[in-house]
């Protein structure tokens, strides 16, 4: 796009095309699909957090009419490869069903296959499992003790990862600073908990030797992992991407479920469906998020300059390794947040415990890290007696400093943090907001203002993989797109992933329409199966606006090049003297129409430029901008683009009841050029709702017996329309110099700063008592207890 041409479709108020089928109840979710002869799976779950499996007696279950099969971990592990680990931890082996012993309460021990799900559940209750209980632990700090009960005895300890990075002169900066301060904050175990649980249908076609998979997934390289685990050739797994996914926000990885269903369908010669029920999903769907203790030491001068930070992040990965430890890696790309901090020491630690397995959650570890950094900023400001806002403004990177290289090796592409903050303060009328807080206080309420400034690294690549695992040599995380013009001249775009509400069809149509100068409503978007697809890495890491947007734009541009070549050849002109405009090719002598170009491309080989293949079609595989090299000296460019958000929140509560009520929520958001404003707005609001849940309500809490206490929606509390306030969004656009249209990512927006801002507001509200509530979620009871205790001691 030329800087001087105004976009026609980009950034305009266009509808999201996917919405129509959803309001009609016509979405195509995996639960809605039926395959002839399909069988259903229910799971037998472990009762104890750790136990040796002595004997499984399935005879009673198998004797029931309509029950086809019962499988345990011994059979399955003999037939399939272990599931992939992110780190080089070969002795932390994981299979879809527990082998020999289970490692968390609820872990799947056996699976029952029957004619209906209800029958399978009945039969699962009759499977008798004899066990011997083993020692267990749930606490990450206990897991650090070399004497602690190992979750995987073969691995030797509970430590999965312990890596310290020193970026810059940390000790020197500490020595030269006026003061230092220490703090500890804890991010509780929560997750995104989509309303649709994970589901998969697998069907083996023995004549074609292909495994067909329909699943509610959001998983990079899913088909490859399934093939590897099932010992099938890569081209024997066909994943159908035209399945609507009922929410994911990172967690719908589904590998263990698919390997289990894939094995069973081949074994039984019938399609097999595994749809988790809510309990299976919460307790054993392996979809919990990070649980992290941050120990921070920060060095600063009395004038409010932050010089250096030491951060230790200890993550409780749960019972198996998976990709969880990588969630300590991604935040390295924005380890100083939006601030100028000269040097950083970062120690990333991950341990196993007897809790459910951790999976990728929105932001891939960035939101907990942002919460830690922002809490640090509040504490330092309070320590210095400085205004929190001025203190931040003083340390923020200035717009003229971009591109800005941070100590850990990433360069921030662009931003104007001060401008965004100024806009928010103006919109909210900050002075009036403070006056309102004081009025509420005068009424006897606890009232507080919270602020948070943070970044959303976007354009996801996987640079954290080689950084944390030297055997991993990945330096591309590409995304492909195909644009095809049919013989009647209509345009069809193929995208190669499932979608869980991000509006990729709208994105692709808008971008291709923009480039081809054609109404996006005329453009069809399809999602072929994985065997008909170009390489891609699915919508993770806030990447699709950048990566799919880039691939679609570049494929459309290639199409234009082909059209211009044809038009120029027809009119015997130099292609360089011709240009594409509104579906025609303008030559020095006139115009060649779209119909004419299509006719030549599809029917008249004799009119094609020499050496040109027939057809009008283009593929483009987009590499991550800046994703060029493997890490060196513990440094790497992580994600290419950095969106910025600034949260300002006023909340109030009664000091005895302590139920925080948000009175005002204003967010400033800059994700560069916006492709569809409705989609970006929805992401931001939804992200704030997730952040609100993480800050105040949601936790997968385990009791002293290692049992999950919050395993239904009655006790795992999520924000409803009552808790979630009306949010005002203040927009700002600093285009990225690295992307097609200046766009950056927005899929994690809101979530990345809301927990920090809400926690900050609560602390402001209780500041008269000097209370610190250092663990999320901050429950009502924690606030009221702390106030009561402070009053008693006063």
């Amino acid at each position: 796009m030329n800087a001087d041409t105004k976009p026609r479709f980009l950034s305009t108020d266009r509808r999201v095309r996917e919405d129509k089928r959803f309001v009609a109840g016509s979405g195509r979710f995996v639960q809605d699909l039926d395959r002839p002869g399909m069988l259903h799976v229910a799971l037998v779950a472990a009762q104890h957090p750790a136990a040796k499996i002595v004997k499984i007696d399935a005879s009673e279950a198998l004797a029931m009419e309509g029950v086809h099969y019962v499988i345990d971990g011994a059979e399955l592990s003999a037939a399939v490869n272990p599931l992939m680990n992110g780190l080089d931890t070969p002795n932390v082996r994981r299979f879809p069903l527990a082998v020999g012993q289970n490692r968390y309460a609820g872990e799947w021990i056996a699976a029952v296959v029957a004619d209906t799900r209800a029958l399978a559940e009945d039969a699962a209750e009759r499977v008798k499992v004899e066990v011997e209980r083993l020692g267990f632990l749930t606490d990450a700090e206990k897991a650090l003790d070399p004497e602690s009960t190992p979750v995987h005895p073969e691995h030797g300890s509970n430590l999965l990862l312990d890596r310290t990075f020193d970026w810059g002169p940390v000790e020197d900066d500490f020595a030269r600073s006026d003061e230092t301060l220490k703090l500890r904050v804890t991010w509780g175990r929560n997750s995104t908990v989509p309303i649709e649980t994970f589901g998969v249908i697998c069907e083996w076609n023995p004549w074609d030797e292909v495994l067909d998979v329909w699943a509610s997934i959001q998983m990079p390289k899913y088909a490859d992992q399934i093939a590897r685990a099932l010992k099938l050739p890569g081209n024997a797994v066909r994943v159908h991407y035209d399945v609507d996914v009922g929410g994911s926000y990172g967690v719908k990885r589904g590998i263990k479920q698919t390997v289990l269903a894939g094995y069973l369908c081949r074994k039984l010669g019938r399609p097999v469906r595994l749809i988790e029920d809510r309990l299976e999903n919460m307790r054993s769907g392996d979809a919990h998020g990070p649980e992290r203790i941050f120990d921070i030491e920060v060095a600063f001068d009395r004038d409010g300059t932050v010089n250096a930070m030491k951060m230790r992040a200890l993550d409780n990965a749960g019972a198996y390794a998976g990709r969880a430890p990588f969630q300590l890696g991604k935040p390295i790309g924005a380890i100083v947040g939006p601030y100028r901090i000269n040097s950083v020491q970062y120690r990333a630690m991950s341990v196993t415990t007897n809790k459910a397995v951790q999976e990728a959650v929105r932001g891939f570890g960035q939101s907990p890290t942002n919460y830690a950094i922002e809490t640090m900023m509040d504490r330092v400001a309070a320590h210095l007696g400085m205004d929190r806002l001025e203190f931040r403004q003083k340390n923020l990177i200035r717009s003229e400093e971009f591109p800005y290289l941070i100590p850990s090796g990433s360069t921030y592409d662009s931003g104007d943090y001060h401008a965004v903050i100024d806009k928010v303060l103006a919109t909210a009328d900050y002075a009036e907001l403070q006056a309102e807080r004081d009025r509420l206080r005068a009424e006897g309420l606890c009232a507080g203002i919270g602020i948070a400034a943070c970044l959303e690294p976007s354009g996801g690549n996987s640079a954290f993989e080689p950084l944390l695992n030297e055997k991993n040599r990945t330096s591309t995380w590409m995304e492909g797109c195909r644009v095809n013009v049919d013989a009647l001249g209509e345009v069809t775009v193929a995208i190669h992933t499932t979608s869980s509400g991000q509006g990729h069809e709208t994105l692709a149509a808008t971008v291709v329409g923009e480039v081809l100068q054609m109404d996006p409503d005329r453009i069809r978007v399809v999602r072929p199966d994985s065997l008909s697809s170009l390489p891609g890495n699915s919508p993770v890491g806030s990447r699709m606006a950048i990566m799919l947007g880039g691939a679609a734009a570049n494929a459309a541009r290639e199409l234009i090049r082909q059209a211009v070549a044809i038009g120029a050849h027809l009119s015997r002109a130099d292609p360089a003297a011709c240009r594409y405009e509104d579906g025609t090719v303008v030559t020095p002598d006139g115009t060649v129409t779209w119909d004419e170009i299509v006719d030549v491309a599809h029917r008249r080989f004799h009119d094609l430029p020499p050496g040109t293949n027939p057809g009008l079609t283009a593929n483009f595989i987009q590499q991550v901008p800046t994703g060029t090299a493997l890490p060196k000296d513990g440094k790497v460019q992580m994600y290419p683009c950095y969106s910025f958000e600034f949260h300002l929140v006023l909340l109030a509560f009664d000091p005895v009841l302590a139920k925080p009520e948000i009175r005002r929520y204003v967010i400033g958001h800059d994700c560069g050029t916006v492709i569809n404003p409705h989609i970006v707005k929805g992401m931001t609001l939804g992200g704030i709702a997730h952040g609100l849940g993480a800050a105040l309500l949601e936790e997968f809490a385990y009791d002293g017996e290692g049992q999950l206490m919050t395993q239904s929606f009655l006790d795992y509390l999520m924000p409803s329309s009552h808790e979630m306030p009306e949010v005002e969004i203040v927009k700002h656009e600093t285009p990225s110099p690295l992307t097609e249209f200046g766009q950056k990512g927005s899929g994690e927006s809101g979530y990345l700063g809301a927990p920090a801002a809400i926690s900050g507001a609560i602390h402001d509200a209780v500041s008269q008592w000097g209370i610190h509530l250092n663990k999320l979620p901050i429950r009502m009871s924690a606030i009221s207890d702390a106030i009561a205790a402070a009053e008693e001691n006063a």
């Binding site: 509808r15 999201v16 996917e18 919405d19 129509k20 089928r21 959803f22 309001v23 009609a24 109840g25 016509s26 979405g27 979710f29 639960q31 809605d32 209800a118 995104t192 908990v193 989509p194 309303i195 649709e196 609507d244 996914v245 009922g246 929410g247 994911s248 926000y249 029920d277 809510r278 869980s500 509400g501 991000q502 509006g503 409705h678 989609i679 707005k681 929805g682 992401m683 931001t684 609001l685 939804g686 992200g687 704030i688 709702a689 997730h690 239904s712 929606f713 009655l714 999520m718 924000p719 409803s720 329309s721 009552h722 979630m724 009306e726 949010v727 809101g750």
Partner: protein, 165 residues
Amino acid sequence: MKTDLTVNGRTYGIDVEPRTTLLDALRDGCGLKGTHAGCEHGVCGACTVIVDGEAVRSCLMLAVQSDGLDITTIEGVAPERGELDVIQDSFCETHGMQCGYCTPGMVLAAKALLGVNREPTDEEIRDAISGNICRCTGYGQIVEAIRLAAKRLRESNALAMEAGE
């Protein structure tokens, strides 16, 4: 057990177990897949349908209890295949959804509200959908959609009568 379910003006004679929920009967017995299962314990509202004018959770009702009642599911909302009613269209206008999984329940909760209240305040809108959990949107654009639908219904008497039927 034989049960007659009257759904969207049509009668489905189906055979169900006494323990079968209305949710499962609609999905598996009647083949109406627009009603979704989220929690199956009465909290999330994804399974919302309208029974005799009121929004109810079909996971908490048994199919056999529903015999003879007037049930509307999301499939019964659009006037014609390929066309949208005012509420559905308003959800599209404001993008009151993302993944679409909670959407049928939200649209029906909105329909039940607007059937009895043509001029709901934002608080009444939030109340009406407070039993429907959406993990995607943070509710903002859903509230906007219902606000817009109410306005459009007020502005068009003919349509208002239809929504109140």
